[in-house]
Symmetry: C2
Subunit: 217 residues, 2 copies
DNA sequence: AAATAAAATTAGGTATAACTAATTTTATTT
DNA sequence: AAATAAAATTAGTTATACCTAATTTTATTT
């Protein structure tokens, strides 16, 4: 079994690898976890010894088969618990991430599968992220962000790239949730901010960083 | 906030205080947690500094108001999660304790109350133990054990004092659950074992240790 | 290619929470 | 009351997982 820290490293490595295809450096992991790079080097050694990752200066950090399996399970549990917290317990969008960060480490073998069944085998979590199946397979993921949508086009919010409270609270304030229709009205060249229409509401302007955090379908 | 270890100590202290009125010694805590007495002395200092307990060689260890509040909340979470695991996820009687040991440490402020509501404000957990209310109050507890029942009397199983897998699996095998009718047919003087009738079944003999672990109403 | 900057690594240190072994204190026998 | 046993405590050690500071390696400029 893996410790809490080990699990958090595995999860971070998986998330980084999903975000881009660049090689995963100790610095990137340090940044993702808010840890010192020296600590990361320690943990890389530990995870390598446990055969959960492989590390090569040229290729960076890679998950082994076992490491991938373990980290996908953590993500699976995280997202299932998020569905549970929102749908069953009535928590708000911006509260569930932090609680799921703790719940994901509860370690019983059957827990994820039973929870999955109890929830009716959901495919996406409340942020639109795909929930890995029991066999490790992922439903299809959305990768086009609102920032890449052409002017005039109307699309639907499919997922969010940022699960932090401030971001999600801002979305609530704007009236944006998963499935909300958004039309891109104008792109301001100066700073790539977007003028958008959210469902039937008045126009709003949002920053580039904001539009990059919204994935659409 | 309290660490995982601190929480486990608080919980152990509460449980010991509920079991008997004798003073709580470092040795008793060490035994309950399976730790070395020296470790317990360290932790007593820490919890005293945090004003969660008071320690006096004469009076032993006592929970302060805050310590009591914290430890009751842990027990509350533990027992609520047990109900969830059994009723909602379909885990068996003997599986839920260990999972709840992990779940009880998840720390969101509203989690226990929301879970409580979701479960319909249950009063007892699947082992018959009373679930502390949000205000810290306990439903009435059963304290008479099967070992104290007079010969000939029929009673109902209200709770179990032991939540270990082997014990619970034995209960399942015998056909005993919370609410099961049990009649005491004979008490063997030699070793205080009991001959009992479980609902309508044939007679069985059970040991003293066994009958002491069953609380009745 | 040399100089500089950035990244990775090593060395050594800290806090937590456990441990063993030795000692002191308290309780129980004789 | 002295002897013995048990309990509590202290002193010192270990593993985990982090840290800072210094050094080495690698990458980027000039």
């Amino acid at each position: 079994m893996n410790t809490l820290s080990e699990e958090n490293y595995l999860k971070a490595i998986l998330r980084i690898s999903q975000k881009s295809d660049e090689k995963i450096t100790p610095t990137a992991i340090a940044e993702a976890l808010g840890n010192n790079a020296a600590s990361v080097v320690d943990m890389i050694r530990k995870l390598t010894d446990k055969q959960l990752i492989e590390y090569d200066k040229k290729k960076g950090v890679r998950l082994t088969q076992q490491g991938l399996k373990d980290s996908v399970l953590i993500i699976r549990k995280h997202r299932l618990w998020e569905v549970f917290l929102l749908e069953k317990l009535g928590f708000h969008w911006d509260e569930i991430h932090d609680i799921a960060e703790e719940l994901e480490h509860v370690s019983n073998t059957n827990l994820a599968d039973r929870l999955d069944q109890f929830l009716g085998f959901p495919e996406y979590d409340p942020h639109g992220d795909p929930i890995p199946k029991a066999n490790g397979k992922l439903p299809k993921t959305f990768t086009v962000s609102l920032a890449d949508v052409k002017t005039g086009v109307t699309c639907k919010v499919a997922a969010v790239r940022d699960t932090s409270s401030p971001f999600l609270q801002y979305l609530v304030k704007l009236g944006i949730g998963i499935g909300t229709q958004v039309q891109v009205l104008e792109r301001i060249e100066f700073d790539q901010s977007l003028v958008i229409r959210i469902s039937e509401q008045d126009k709003t302007t949002v920053s580039q960083r904001f539009s990059e955090s919204i994935l659409i379908s």
